[in-house]
């Protein structure tokens, strides 16, 4: 039985007229190509809009984590596994934990066939998966119970085979990836 069928059968995922809910959290389905077109218009020219996209996705995922945590009491391991399975189910590509270090609040997620960066392959200069980057940051913050950020260090849009997302504290990311930090996270501080 697929993960989708399991969720449907256990009533964790429901489709009603005009309303989709996953663990009581409302979701919508969007065309990945259409959203890629919007991201294309801001990715290399509007750092503030990029930063907002990331921050708001992070905030939404933190709230989702809080709501799910209250109702379903996932363990750290359950939530980490669930998060990657949900990302796959939700069409965000083949997500996989490459590193998960609970003790030091670090992680690396790789994503093959990411929909936004695949749509923008060779069209943008900078990594472009800001929505999933924010969702990962929110999911990891909920999971670690510690505020962490995410930088996309490799991206399919720039010709890489996979997108790589590094999860760590703000200060560690700033020192390890100063250029990418400036492009992907600096407005978090200014805004």
């Amino acid at each position: 039985m697929s993960f989708f069928e399991k969720l449907l059968l256990s009533k964790q995922l429901s489709f009603n007229l005009g309303d989709i809910e996953l663990l009581d959290q409302r979701l919508v389905i969007v065309s990945s190509e259409a959203f890629a077109n919007y991201i294309y218009s801001i990715n290399d020219s509007n750092e503030l809009a990029v930063s907002n996209l990331y921050q708001i996705a992070k905030k939404a995922m933190i709230q989702l984590g809080i709501n799910i945590g209250k109702k379903y009491s996932f363990s750290f391991g359950d939530y980490s596994t669930w998060f990657v399975e949900i990302a796959r189910l939700n069409g965000w590509g083949k997500a996989k934990w490459e590193l998960l270090d609970k003790k030091n609040f670090k992680g690396i997620i790789s994503i093959e066939d990411s929909p936004i960066s695949t749509a923008l392959k060779n069209k943008v200069k900078n990594p472009c998966d800001h929505i999933i980057r924010g969702l990962i940051a929110g999911g990891a913050t909920s999971s670690f119970k510690m505020d962490v950020e995410v930088i996309e260090t490799e991206c399919i849009a720039q010709g890489k085979e996979k997108c790589i997302f590094v999860i760590d504290t703000d200060s560690n990311l700033k020192s390890q990836f100063p250029d990418l930090y400036t492009k992907q996270l600096v407005y978090r501080r200014l805004g």
């Binding site: 697929s2 005009g18 979701l27 065309s31 077109n37 708001i56 083949k94």
Partner: protein, 187 residues
Amino acid sequence: MSFLEKLMLSKQIKFEDGQTEILKQRVIFVPSDFLGEYTFEILREPELVKLIYFTLKQGVNNFGEQIMRTYGSTITDYSKLLRDLSDLAGWGKTTYESLNIEQGSATLIIENSPVSSYLKGRVNLPCDHISRGVIAGIASIALKKDLDVLEIECIATGNKACKMVLDSKDKLKSNFPRFYKMQFGSE
């Protein structure tokens, strides 16, 4: 049988490893709170409102063309299919209050719209710019005319449902000058 069940039985909805497709078009699921909060953020910047509207309008061209080519034998079938798709995709319950295919105009009522329900009481202007852009793009493809959409009633501002008017830009401008200025600026 629900539209979802029909799609599942006919294998027109696919959840393969990391790739979700509906009617052979790649889609993603996102939390509606994220789109609501992002909409709230861009309302401060009219240029971003226009940008998201026009990039989504253009971005669904391919989606609309593919669906029309594959599944929409007539415009009426296509209109029904799009309404069912919108309902399935969680964008609220859509009905056509009016639909004039020859003139390329329509009025759509959307109940339980996710973005405006999320922003209810937080904004004082219609806010479903993502839906507006998607509807405008899909309808332009279907009716082979450059059409645009204004939201003239919105759940977020206290209406029971959202009301979207589809028409040419000129007609929207003359029929709803106040909403036109709010949603397209002074162009």
